[in-house]
């Protein structure tokens, strides 16, 4: 490694920053894109069922679908209100 390379590597070139940023955002947006259309409705209906028993808000139910290779995981996260 020459002395010039040393100075060069000290600061990353802007094209590699652009590439990294793009890879992250594109991967994220593709993930969103592949989500099935029924997800918002599923979330709404789940919320209605839960509300029959517990008093929760809209934003306290989180539905997440993750694809890991050939299996998909539907994750349901409900924050219950504090007990009084």
């Amino acid at each position: 490694m020459s002395i010039f390379d040393y100075f060069r590597s000290a600061k990353k070139d802007t094209a590699s920053i652009a590439k990294e940023r793009l890879q992250i955002i594109v991967a994220h947006e593709r993930n969103q894109r592949n989500k099935p259309d029924y997800l918002p409705k599923l979330q709404q209906e789940l919320l209605e069922v839960i509300r029959k028993y517990v008093d929760v808000d809209q934003d306290q139910v989180e539905v997440q679908l993750d694809n890991n290779g050939n299996c998909s995981v539907l994750e349901l996260n409900i924050t219950l209100p504090d007990r009084v």
Binding site: D13, T14, A15, S16, A18, K19, R21, L22, Q23, I25, V26, E29, R30, R33
Partner: protein
């Protein structure tokens, strides 16, 4: 059967109309009967790029509405034989294009013996852009080596894969990437995304790289599609891209910094 090719990008100002004009001219110059349609309703511009703005009498929407027939609306290009232009309407009615209307016109064009139908898409992902891409067999996604353009290109690829007629039928639109305004010097300096970076991010086959060139503006100033400027690197790069589009094996050029010889340095082309 006619091949329908959409020129799209999502982002505006990346060179869709320049590309539509160049590619359609190039295909026609190789002997194929070609029509290029401006889908940018309300912001017609293909006509001025192709120097036929004063010859527009009827437009795309007139034909859809039955106010004129195709023969009356099609403008014959003065440079390339076999090339016709169907200009966009300047109406502000966004819904002037209907799926049925567009399909009817495309079918009529195919029945008329057109081999290639190039659809110049407006920017954005709204109605006009959707209409331009819906019937496409092939998509040329035009991108600049710049973050917002690459991101938008990925969005457009996603829409092509889910919302086009081919997608609805479980088929695939043949997608390819055309990288425009490419500056190899800046890429070498690490100031601009390189062609392999963009290919890797978008995972799409490369149709061509059009180098940033002064000749593109000079060509549009005069209303001459840049592909007619056979001296210019941009014109040559478009010509290569047309060859690839038609199935020829053409090696990529203009992707790395050109080594300027002494002769070239002494006599820099000023044309």
């Amino acid at each position: 059967m006619a091949k329908i090719i959409v020129v799209t990008s999502g982002k505006g100002g990346v060179g869709k109309t320049t590309t539509s004009a160049a590619i359609s001219s190039g295909i026609a110059m190789r002997g194929h009967k070609t029509v290029v349609i401006d889908f940018d309703i309300g912001l017609r511009n293909l006509d001025i790029i192709m120097n036929c703005e004063r010859r527009v009498v009827y437009d795309f929407v007139n034909v859809i509405n039955g106010e004129a027939n195709l023969r009356q609306a099609l403008i014959k290009d003065k440079r390339a034989e076999n090339l016709y232009i169907l200009p966009a309407s300047q109406t502000r009615d966004k819904d002037a294009l209907t799926v049925e209307g567009v399909e009817r016109i495309l079918n009529e064009l195919a029945a008329d013996g057109f081999e290639y139908i190039i659809c110049d898409s407006p920017a954005g992902i709204e109605h006009g852009a959707f209409m331009a891409m819906y019937f496409a067999d092939m998509a040329i996604v035009v991108a600049n080596p710049e973050v917002s353009s690459v991101r938008d290109s990925d969005r457009i690829l996603g829409i092509l894969q889910s919302k086009s007629r081919r997608a609805e039928r479980g088929e695939r639109v043949e997608e390819c990437l055309l990288l425009t305004r490419y500056n190899p010097e800046r890429v070498a300096k690490g100031e601009m995304l390189g062609v392999t970076d963009v290919e890797e991010i978008l995972a799409t086959k490369l149709l061509g790289v059009i180098p940033e060139s002064e000749t593109v503006l000079k060509a549009s100033n005069q209303g001459i599609p840049v592909i007619h400027d056979i001296e210019s690197p941009a014109g040559q790069a478009y010509s290569d891209a047309v060859g690839r589009l038609l199935g020829e094996e053409v090696e990529h050029r203009f992707m790395s910094v050109e080594q300027k010889g002494l002769f070239k340095r002494l006599f820099r082309r000023s044309a």
